[in-house]
Amino acid sequence: MEKTMTRQEALDLYFMDARSKLIDLAAFLDRVDRAEGEADFRLKAFRLALRELERKEPQRAKQVLLTLSDPTTKPIAKATAKAASGAWPETE
């Protein structure tokens, strides 16, 4: 598919939105820091996924999703009513 936007146009269209989401992310991490009690695996996975933003090639969205994914391939014994949490508990 042909390229449709210049880098400048992409910034014009999406910078303010991304800026707002970036500040939301920072505020979220501040909020979690200020709160008391133990964090769970989700925070660790989140911080690992954040590192993917520093990548040099345009694969960041994919890498963030992979960091938050169950990488195993064996079916589980039985489905439970527990909802998906958005991160994989054993992410290292």
Binding site: M1, K3, T4, M5, E9, L13, Y14, D17, P58, A61, K62, L65, L66, L68, S69, D70, P71, T72, T73, P75, I76, A77, K78, A79, T80, A84, S85, G86, A87, W88
Partner: protein
């Protein structure tokens, strides 16, 4: 603008949504069978649901000038109960000849369990025996990657299944290539909070191309936007995509896939 909504759970929506969709240029909506938000207690609940999907809902859509088509199955969330699933699989053939049934869907996986896979395989077998198209749901969030891999394995291991007759839905950046490389169609679901945003869906098309791919709103009883497809088309226009490129993605592609079922006709004749 003209478009097809290839995945909308209209039984959960109000008539205003039909009006808005028709006003935005929607010509047809396709409704896969799915989870009601609660588990049904018996096969009779599914029988009634299939009647609603094949008798009542097409009439309701027609009042607003929209064609309505459907897909039938027991969804993966209720597939842990294999006995119930077998009972439901037993009644589906009675509905397959109805004039608006396009195929088997949305089947797939939810938690990637052994029973879910068993029921998925039985649906694939049913589709193969009856020459039906297949629409597949992939799991949410952290379970999507694994589920997509398991689903592709299950489909590939049934040699009767032609990949171009299968759409694997709810792809994201980490699963779209797996699906397209295996020869299947890929669906992108435009949700405000999970799955794809409009911007990301357009990114995916720009990176992976617009062959064998479509966008849908998957609007249902949860947080979802019935006009997500035309809204994404407007965003494509803002990015400089041509009217022809937009028409291909939101109209000609779903038309091409769905037309593999001879019952899919956009005019009433």
């Amino acid at each position: 603008m003209r478009y097809i909504e290839p995945h909308g759970h209209m039984v959960s929506r109000v008539t205003d949504d039909y009006v808005d969709m028709a006003t935005a240029g929607c010509e047809a909506v396709c409704e896969p069978a799915f989870w009601a938000g609660f588990d049904r207690s018996s096969v009779q609940g599914f029988y009634d649901y299939f009647c609603q999907l094949t008798e009542h809902e097409p009439k309701r859509a027609a009042k607003f000038g929209l064609r309505h088509f459907t897909w039938l199955c027991i969804n993966p969330k209720e597939s842990e109960d294999v006995k119930l699933a077998d009972d439901v699989l037993g009644i589906i053939p009675k509905f397959l000849d109805r004039p608006t049934v396009l195929g088997i869907g949305e089947i797939g996986l939810n938690k990637n369990s052994k029973n879910e896979i068993k029921v998925l395989e039985r649906h694939i077998d049913l589709a193969a025996r009856h020459g039906q198209l297949i629409l597949v749901h992939t799991p949410h969030l952290e379970d999507k990657l694994k589920g997509t891999r398991l689903i592709i394995d299950a489909l590939k291991s049934d040699k009767r299944i032609q990949p171009q007759r299968v759409i694997i839905d709810h792809v994201e950046e980490h699963t779209v290539k797996l699906v397209l490389d295996a020869g299947f169609w890929a669906g992108m679901t435009l949700y405000p909070e999970s799955k794809c945003t409009s911007a990301r869906a357009i990114d995916i098309v720009e990176v992976y191309g617009s062959e064998r791919i479509w966008m849908n709103s998957a609007c249902d009883w949860g947080v979802s936007v019935p006009l997500a497809v035309p809204k994404t088309a407007l965003e494509m226009r803002k990015r400089g995509h041509s009217a022809d490129a937009i028409d291909k993605l939101i109209y000609r592609n779903p038309l091409q896939f769905m037309s593999q079922c001879p019952k899919f006709k956009l005019s009433a004749d």
